[in-house]
């Protein structure tokens, strides 16, 4: 079986890299945590990998805005290698801060040509504060390789700036029509709702986005925090041990990479 290699990008203030590496390894990939400085020094490093992950954290303290400084680094040092990575049919995943980075670098939702689109952003939660809570996610597209269509999953969010907003309603309509909305926040029964069902006030309850290729996914919730039953907030109330919903995303990514990249 072909080995799937994943790179987990570290940077100052990134702090979910170890558990993300662990989740990728559980899914069967060989994962490595690499500091972005190493990639900037030798961009051909990326050639060894089929999956690139920008994990959660507070890159550069989220100074100026969440993910902004790291996105600025990506734009000014790595825009070509990242575009090539995607162009080569490989996979990119951004979780929480990583999602913020991908959006602010213009990788997501991604236009047809340029990296920098400036149509969508992620900003302060309506609640005005950081919150750690669990949410249900309903998949919105069947063309994103990370997602198991139709399967509602349960994951924690932990962020202060997770509200997805679009420049105007036209942009939102495009996201919908092109199937770029990956996940929406819903309740236990699959219905959209106000806070705390939608924990940050995202327009249209958007929790995650994908690009035109379906091989780039960014989401605010943390799939790497639910890869084992004892991470579920109510595992001690459950008779059966349902495994971690977050693994579906990593398993799908590794399977796709093994078969297609």
């Amino acid at each position: 079986m072909a080995e799937v290699r994943a790179i987990v990008m570290r940077a100052a203030g990134i702090n979910c890299d170890m558990e993300t590496e662990y989740a990728l390894e559980l899914a069967g990939a060989k994962a490595e945590r690499v500091h972005i400085n190493r990639v900037i020094e030798s961009k051909e490093l990326l050639d060894q990998y089929q999956i690139m992950v920008f994990p959660g954290g507070f890159s550069y303290g989220d100074d100026v805005a969440a993910g902004k400084i790291l996105a600025n680094q990506v734009v000014h040092h790595l825009s070509e290698p990242v575009a090539k990575f995607i162009g080569d049919g490989k996979l990119v995943l951004g979780i929480c801060n990583g999602f913020q980075v991908l959006v602010k670098a213009g990788v997501l939702p991604g236009g047809d040509s340029a990296m920098r689109q400036e149509q969508v952003t992620i900003t302060n939660n309506d609640s005005g504060k950081f919150e750690d809570r669990w949410v249900y996610l309903s998949p919105q597209t069947d063309r994103c390789v990370f997602i198991e269509a139709g399967r509602r999953i349960y994951l924690p969010v932990a962020h202060a700036e997770g509200k997805v907003v679009t420049k105007d309603s036209g942009v939102l309509e495009t996201l919908r029509s092109e199937g770029r909305i990956a996940f929406k926040y819903v309740d236990e029964d699959g219905r959209e709702g106000d806070y705390p069902v939608n924990p940050n006030g995202s327009v249209d309850s958007i929790a995650g986005l994908t690009d035109a290729t379906g091989r780039v996914l960014g989401l605010m919730p943390h799939p790497e925090r639910f890869v084992r039953r004892t991470q579920h907030p109510r595992w001690s109330r459950m008779q059966d041990g349902r495994g971690g919903d977050g693994m579906t995303i990593f398993n799908n990514a590794v399977r796709y990479a093994r078969e297609n990249v």
């Binding site: 702090n15 989740a23 100026v64 600025n72 932990a158 004892t230």
Partner: protein, 960 residues
Amino acid sequence: MRQWRFEVFNRRGFADVHGKSVLDDIRELGITSVEAVQSARVFLIEADFEEAFARRLARELLTDPVCEEYYCGRSGAPAGLARATLIEVHLKSGVTDPVAESVMAAVADMGVRAGNVRTARKYVLLGQLAKGQTETIAKKILANDCIEDVIVGNEAEPPSPHLKPYELQVVQWPVRELSDEDLLALSKGKDLFLNLVEMQTIQAHYGELGREPTDVELESIAQTWSEHCVHKTLKSSVDMSVDGEQAHFDNLLKETVFRATKELDKGWCISVFADNAGVVEFDEDSAVCFKVETHNHPSALDPYGGAATGIGGVIRDPMGTGMGARPIANTDIFCFGEPDKKLDEVPKGVLHPRRIMRGVVAGVRDYGNRMGIPTVNGAIYFDDRYMANPLVYCGNIGLMDKRKCFKNPQSGNLIVVVGGRTGRDGIHGATFSSGQMTHEHETIFSHAVQIGNPITEKKMLDVLVQANEAGLYEAITDCGAGGLSSAVGEMGRNLGAEVDLERAPLKYAGLSYTEIWISEAQERMVVAVKPENLEAITKIFDGENVQSTVVGRFTDDKKLRLRYNGQQVGELDMDFLHDGVPKYSRKAVWERPELSEPSLGEKDNYNDELVAILSSYNVASKEWVIRQYDHEVQGGSVVKPLTGAANDGPSDAAVIQPKLDSDRGLAISCGMNPVYGDIDPYRMALAGIDEAVRNIVCVGARVDRIALLDNFCWGDCTRPRTFGALVRAAQACYDGAMAFEAPFISGKDSLNNEFACEDGRTISIPATLLISAISLVDDINKCVTMDAKRASNLLFIVGETKNELGGSHYYKIKGHLGANAPGVDLELAPRIAASVSRAIGEGLVESCHDCSEGGLAVGLAEMGFAGGLGIRADLRGLPRSKDCCGVDSQLFSESNSRYIVEVEPEKYDAFAKLMLNLPFGQIGSVTEDGRLVVRAEDGRAVIDADLVALKRAWQAPFDW
């Protein structure tokens, strides 16, 4: 260079979350004339770039393209100019500005160099304001005097940040010829906080040397001998009188807290009371270390910065323990005044308790979350005596290689400072925190407040972990209180050291050699590096943009030599510095206070009392706080702080899985009951230990691997009565640790938590002992939580309920203290804990919750509403003492060593067998009807309440 000014506002139609929260705070102050608040971020960038680039920078870097817009230069005031007030808040010069540092780096990524960057916040207040009101809003909401300057209006520019370069001038502080009076005047005038005996000892030492000390020498001694660093009160010899009976201790700590550890002599204790944190075995390959610190005085002045650097500082303790641990969990325990105080009830010079609480929570949140360390356990306690002296306990647990639990610095090793730069922040923190606060502290000691930058610390952690794995240093410690002085002095105490102070990288020019030496600037650590490893370790540091500098080397002559540009500015004898502090002898007195039990008539129904206790600040849900902390980062969360059917019940303790590929867990809990100390500090301390043990047992931890930490926060211990209470508590620590066979592994004290009001009154905090506990969980899959699980399961109570309402929440809501504070049966309590722990380990328990604040009634209510179920209980099944016959004492007594346990009917026999010879009884069962019904011994329903309503009452106080 030109200074560019950019102002970034929210675009119309996009919510200004920050402005909205400021508006809410203004309304809360009672000012109703403000209609709206607009907030903006201001960037002042000195650079030589062209206008076109400046605009690109603003557009691409500083402004969100969707929801923000920028002005290059000053924005005009909005329409309705006449009624708009403009306020800008700038950091005082010298205060760390993390955002500015990031912007500098990002500008460089864009290919241009900026000379200097500063940031500020701007507020546009719409509405008519009286002059005094603007000032009130600025002072109470927008800015903190200690660290920030406020500029009202649109004209003035902030002061220039450029500071004059420093020119060396060696300063002597002569002591040899001084009278006692002058010695004290010197100590006071220089903020040394040294007493007369200490000053005389120093005088005699310099008399022998035949010279006068330099300023940096005296500062080093003051810092090393400070209460904060050397704990001279707890180590003093004590003549104690308890109710007229005499006792003597040569060294209080050694004969109480340490003694228990020594006598228990557990093989799994690896390093106790020796390093920055206590170290115990975790598994075959790893150890865990745990430290809890306080950051009380700084948090009183600057709640946000004080708490942030409190957590930032304690994280560096495990990082600097042995050869360094990786932090895996934070704890936080706070004591505040009640948050609903009226403004005129708050003493002058003191911030409002609500502002302190919000600031402290935000500080811990922002630092802990950014470090990527889950904050998993804590408590908040309210009492108005904490109003002027809030207590902020911050704890950190680290995971480390079991073979690397000890340091080995050698002469010839280079002294390398890693991490942040040195600035004027935090000068005199160690000495300041050892003294009493007054209403003038706000202005006098603003320099003692430190400003943190968690990302600097996270970067430092990332590279230190790699350097440790590569074995590239011989010793590591943090720059905590006392800065380089304490770090280098401590690491080199058996060697000797020479330091070239001008080499230390500075945040800005102008620092004297003494300021460099004693600055407590955050995020710095010191490592001892063999010269041959310097290149390799520097490569790791440089590779992730972490600054490191060789500032000196360790020698072998037991002298500490300080130089600046080659000129010697201080020379100290290590032995005198570390062992020269005079030993104290203190008097301590404790007399049983004359208290009595109130007589409260028996009522037919106690629903109202239960609601009142559930909605009292101490008992109420702390979800508002807990959710702001990331308690799941690192992926090891097993028992979360909130649990139950709706993820919102109060867990007894936290369990984490430190290694993701192993099922072994670590449980963390705490216990604290300050009110009992008003009756009997001995009982208070034992109750704290019992509570910490109960909490940790409830989630399924082992009883034979419990390690404890003590944190004493007290008033002025030169008063024999205040000190007497501490001695009583220390004696209880010995007795409790011995009884549970749970050794103390680390501890800390913070004394002089008193406040001198303008009118001459002194407010002292209540005697407050925090007990923290950790223990092992063999298999995380066997952990249990406190929420009731299924209807028809049986409920048992293990442990005896006694007539012990003294200091209870029931008395508190009735306005009484009482006399019967709960005691601990030292023979029985450990057996109960062991049996409950065993029952959980054998899978016989569905849920387990301890009876603590609010007693049985509150415990049952919490289990019921956390489980989304109902509970039917009958007090006839309650094991109780003969004199515990009142319904109120049966419901609300806070007797220790009691556990409520839910068991499936078919497991009854197996469970009962384990509880043989213990006081236990079936008190009820879980139902489906969502009601809590408790029947008295005569069959009356003394509580009959809807659990949803009870839950709402419990959640309401902090529904902020």
